[in-house]
């Protein structure tokens, strides 16, 4: 090729075409969906907790997108029914994730509903799951001589305790737990919802 201008124009047209297919098309289709009935908007506290989730980079190890039983045993692991586009109507930024170094969290609020367990697990994951490789987040907690009124004290198994001290959750830890417990998409999926049906046995995708 001997001409720079047509080369650049055609290259940009091809990119525009890809953008039409991968960005504009899905946006038009998903944008028509209404939020799933049963999906609750986040509270202010849950949203602050979601910001902690984003800032700590939880998304790099935890997905939020259970797959269909046709593809994988996600439901059997307690991760919930296959998620659909309408489940994410309030998610900005989206946190679907691409790794399962840890388990999927789309329904962790239903699977592990104890705030106390969540706090212990965030303070030291290996205190409750010895096999875990999740980071500990001690900087979201304070070690004090005694708890003040209103403090949330973290339960620890004997071997993780510090003699004469208590571990208290900072607001960021409490907000993060509020967000984690809000992850409960156990309501029924809307009929004819949008998701990748490419694994459905004997069905034609839409």
């Amino acid at each position: 090729m001997n001409r720079a201008v047509p080369l650049v124009i055609l290259s940009m047209v091809i990119l525009a075409f890809a953008t039409l297919m991968l960005v504009v098309g899905p946006k038009l289709q998903i944008g028509r969906e209404v939020p799933a009935a049963g999906l609750q908007p986040y509270t202010a506290e849950q949203l602050r907790g979601r910001e902690v989730y984003v800032s700590m980079g939880c998304v790099y190890c935890h997905s939020q997108q259970p797959r269909t039983p046709d593809q994988a045993p996600d439901a059997e692991r307690g991760w919930g029914r296959p998620s659909v586009a309408a489940d994410y109507a309030h998610d900005y930024p989206h946190l679907m994730g691409t790794m399962r170094t840890g388990p999927d969290l789309f329904n962790v609020g239903a699977r592990l509903p104890s705030a106390s367990w969540q706090l212990t697990h965030l303070y030291q994951p290996r205190a409750v799951s010895p096999w875990s490789i999740m980071p500990a987040y001690p900087f979201l907690f304070e070690v004090k001589d005694r708890a003040a009124p209103g403090d949330v004290v973290v339960w620890l198994p004997p071997k993780a305790r510090i003699v004469g001290k208590v571990v208290v959750a900072k607001p960021a830890a409490r907000e993060l737990v509020a967000y984690l417990l809000s992850l409960d998409h156990t309501y029924p999926a809307p009929a004819k919802a949008i998701r990748d049906d490419g694994y459905a046995v004997g069905q034609v995708g839409k």
């Binding site: 080369l7 290259s11 991968l22």
Partner: protein, 516 residues
């Protein structure tokens, strides 16, 4: 309303426009070329001679002194920054890797938690090392292709400075917990403008140089560079538009962008360099120049649409996932075209592969491009993706592309370019070989560990009779193997940085040599 009818209409219109463009291109002789045009990179009498400053010790290219002088300053600036970011990025990568099997190490501060260290690593190596090294090689090669000095070099210097300021601001933001929350797009959008403008500033000199060129034909590297340098700012700006895309829509934008950073940015930068350095060093043109045309346009067409294979089995429309799966498989076409062109000329000249370390880096990089692309096409198949998705296998694959392919080519490019830029030979050629073996051995270990470990991890997760913990426990030795490989790679990068410092700072280098 989005209906099949609308898509058929769009496809029809695009086909008609494509046909019109094809008729114009054929009638105006755009495609009428062959091996003669492939030789545009050689001056009279250069063909058939090995051209490698690390072998000949001949630092200056006397045929191209004015051209090389015009690019020396901006390219040096870009490369110094790139190498610094590589070293820092590798250190963060190694810390992140160690943390995966030593989770209680360095857990005292939020800035050093895995999620942030890992993101600092990605941002540093993609937007620091690979992007800047890629822009540097593009800036250095393009005027040579066009046989005229670089125009408006100051724009590149300014662009590089803006880019680096934006990058540093982004790194500080990520370390302190302020990020956009999407993979590959973590730098806050408020800062991203600096990188977009910085990147766009480096395009202008390239275009001006193309318009002032003293050869008629634009060599294949020039196609990749012109297109890639235009694609990146467009991609980066669209992907960072805030508040327009929410939830599942945003996921498709996220992966449209993230895979295009590889396909339409790092790949053109890497292939453009490989298409220049391989035949230039060997002294023989690529195998079938006409084939490179197919390779380029097929890459543009197919690669731009593969991104949604990252959402296979996810909450996005089936048709867009399937489209990306199909285009991923179609990638065999451009990849084979590039492979035939580049590997055949190396295979016929193995003496050069043995003699020249820069060529060894670049052509190994080109081989790993072929392998990474084949692996990527297979990985996009639904049956295979079910196992590999969400596992370390993907991380191994990403490094085969971004490291094995793109970084290896940049290493070779730097070793070829620096003597031409500084007018000095490499002071310690033995350290180049040491760098080469460190990154080859380290990466072999890295890739093998994650590929096997990731596959086993995926199989464990698919087996409902095994608890989730089984997939974590079985992975541990493979994560340790990856850390070992990564440490050896990082050592190689320190040797690389010492080499670059030594050729840039000849006085202190010679003192150090005496002291040693």
């Amino acid at each position: 309303m989005l209906t099949i009818g609308l898509f058929l209409t769009i496809s029809f219109l695009v086909s008609v426009a494509g046909l019109a463009a094809l008729i114009w291109a054929i009638s105006s002789g755009q495609f009428a070329f062959g091996q003669r045009q492939a030789r545009v990179i050689f001056h009279e009498g250069e063909e058939g001679e090995l051209d490698d400053p690390t072998v000949s010790g001949e630092a200056i290219d006397r045929e191209r002194t004015a051209i090389d002088a015009s690019t020396a300053r901006p390219v040096t600036l870009l490369l110094v920054a790139a190498v610094l970011w590589l070293v820092l990025g590798s250190v963060f990568g190694l810390i992140a890797s160690l943390k995966l099997h030593m989770p209680d190490w360095l857990d005292g501060s939020a800035a050093l938690t895995f999620g942030r260290v890992r993101t600092l690593h990605l941002t540093l190596v993609i937007y620091g090392w690979l992007s800047l090294a890629g822009i540097a090689t593009a800036t250095w090669i393009t005027p040579r292709l066009f046989r005229t000095p670089l125009r408006s070099a100051g724009f590149i210097t300014w662009g590089a400075m803006l880019w680096n300021i934006g990058l540093v601001a982004g790194l500080i933001a990520i370390a302190s917990g302020w990020n956009d929350g999407e993979e590959w797009l973590e730098i806050p959008w408020q800062i991203d403008g600096l990188l977009a403008v910085g990147g766009a500033l480096t395009v202008y000199p390239l275009l001006r140089t193309a318009f002032s060129r003293e050869v008629e034909h634009i060599y294949v590297s020039g196609w990749y560079y012109l297109a890639g340098m235009m694609w990146f700012p467009a991609l980066f700006i669209i992907a960072n538009i805030p508040y327009v895309f929410v939830g599942a829509e945003q996921a498709t934008v996220n992966w449209w962008f993230a895979h295009n950073v590889l396909g339409l940015w790092l790949t053109p930068l890497g292939l453009g360099a490989a298409y220049y350095f391989i035949p230039k060093i060997i002294g023989k043109p690529v195998y079938s120049y006409a084939l490179s045309l197919l390779g380029f346009w097929a890459l543009a067409l197919f690669y731009s649409q593969v991104g949604i294979h990252h959402l296979i089995g996810g909450p996005v429309p089936t048709w867009v996932v399937t489209l990306s799966v199909v285009q991923s498989v179609m990638m065999f076409v451009p990849v084979l075209a590039v492979a035939i062109n580049q590997h055949v000329v190396v295979a016929r000249n193995l003496w050069a592969f043995r003699a020249s370390l820069p060529l060894r880096f670049v052509s190994l990089g080109a081989i790993m491009y072929t392998l990474a692309s084949f692996e990527g096409s297979l990985e996009a198949l639904r049956s295979i993706n079910t196992v590999t998705h969400f596992t370390q296998f993907t991380i191994g694959h990403a490094h085969l592309g971004a490291y094995g392919f793109a970084s290896f080519i940049m290493f070779g490019g730097v070793y070829y370019m620096m003597p031409r830029i500084t007018g000095r030979p490499w002071p310690w050629p033995g350290l180049i070989a040491a760098h080469f073996w460190c990154v080859v051995v380290g990466f072999a270990l890295y890739f093998t560990a994650l590929t096997i470990g990731g596959w086993l991890e995926g199989e464990a997760m698919l087996d409902a009779s095994r608890p989730f913990s089984a997939s974590v426990i079985l992975l541990k030795p493979f994560l340790e193997g990856r850390s070992l490989g990564g440490a050896i790679m990082t050592l190689g990068h320190f040797l690389f940085a010492i080499n670059v410092a030594a050729i840039l700072l000849p006085r202190s280098a010679s003192r150090a040599a005496v002291a040693a």
